[in-house]
Symmetry: C2
Subunit: 255 residues, 2 copies
């Protein structure tokens, strides 16, 4: 919304079946396809798979289901940004269990930079912390140390230490302050949400008509769809989006 | 299995859509009914809704769907056991967000003991800790203090302090040691799994034929059904059951 203020957005959260990060690739792919089909019915001109786990395993299936609409995942932009940010090529990725196990970040980073050394670490408790809004203080710090100290031990400027950390899950930027306090000031932290927004902007400039909203005078409209619990969507979504979401803005749908 | 060694068991884990603890009552009820219908097809003689959240909101719907089969939830036995265990009637319950919000434990305890004072505390991070197997050490201890110190502050033998704590989620007994270390030695800890097993034994003695397995010579057979990820079911299930589960024992089904 910041990168493309003239566009209209429709956001679907599969809140009935989240989290995706602990599911099998087959199930994530199936659920992602169902979500993409539901969004395609709204006549979208571009689809962002804004979940790292779904991007890691579900992109080919999503592309098959909604032909003619460009599909942007979050792994490729995140991997490209990490390769640009890293001086040493030593890149750490924290993500869900499913994203790490599938190896999508590792492969994407090596495609961009064949000399890279990738350290991938599942950090599943970060998801629960972000959902609960427990992002600062002793508890998230001790969990951040648990996941990150094995990757970032040793002297701050040691050449063997990664110089870049990819936040490979939509939830992790909520914990950015705590993560920063553990890895120290010299590590480049890459948030794939930002780099994905830029990738979408490029895609729209290259391939697509200008924003329909600009013509219709409704530029920047946002609509939310959820598969369960409008209350919880409003409560947690407002925190993630950093602006209040009203219950009337959220429509309950079934996938 | 310990309480009824002659019975055969069939266990269904809706691993594709877990956790239930953060979903709306409507969705939990719908998923619970689907699970009950799937189990009814196996000709069960008794159905245990062995999930606190599903018991809290899904029992009536489950009973409607599988008529003629007794359905035992975990809330009633847990509440009864807590009322028996408590001298003061001051009872704390930790559970998922959904279980606490629905008020099922609070109501069940007050039905058993109208003078009880119930303190209900959601403890959602305990679910993630148990799933990850991070049950001992500094991290679970700090989280246990976060949830439990507000309930159990003050002098250990203060009359205003609860004297009984109900572990109102299937996952929480995995953290019993850590929970004990926070609440101290004088609090009675009630695990609704054990009290439910006794309730099932009573139900079977009162109403039902003796175990079919005893006649067929297959007593004690166990079968596992999961809706996703046999690997993960084997890994986490073995820890919860405290015995190895082989992948061949687990059948993948769709709900």
């Amino acid at each position: 919304m910041e990168a493309l203020p003239d566009e209209d957005f429709i956001y679907l959260g599969d809140t009935a079946r989240l989290p995706y990060g602990t599911k099998s690739p087959q199930t994530v792919a199936r659920y992602s396809q169902q979500a993409a089909e539901a969004l395609a019915e709204y006549g979208v001109k571009c689809l962002v798979v804004a979940c790292n786990t779904a991007s890691a395993v579900g992109l080919p299936g999503v592309r098959d289901r909604i032909e003619g609409v460009p599909v942007v995942g979050v792994i490729e932009p995140g991997a490209a940004a990490a390769c640009d940010a890293s001086a040493s090529g030593r890149i750490a990725v924290i993500a869900t269990e499913g994203t790490v196990r599938g190896g999508a970040y590792q492969q994407a980073i090596l495609r961009h930079r064949s000399d890279a050394v990738v350290f991938a670490q599942p950090a599943p408790l970060f998801v629960a912390l972000a959902e609960e809004g427990l992002c600062e203080g002793a508890i998230p710090e001790s969990i951040a140390r648990h996941y990150l100290e094995p990757l970032f031990d040793g002297a701050t400027r040691s050449p063997s230490r990664p110089d870049t950390l990819v936040l490979g899950c939509t939830h992790f930027p909520m914990l950015a302050g705590t993560i920063r306090s553990v890895v120290g000031p010299h590590v480049r932290i890459v948030d794939s949400a930002k780099t994905t927004a830029h990738a979408v902007r490029e895609q729209l400039q290259e391939q697509l008509q200008p924003a329909a909203g600009v013509v219709a005078g409704t530029a920047g409209a946002v609509r939310f769809l959820a598969t369960d619990s409008v209350d919880r969507f409003v409560r947690i979504g407002s925190r993630f989006l950093a602006r209040p979401i009203a219950p009337e803005e959220v429509e309950l749908i079934d996938l």
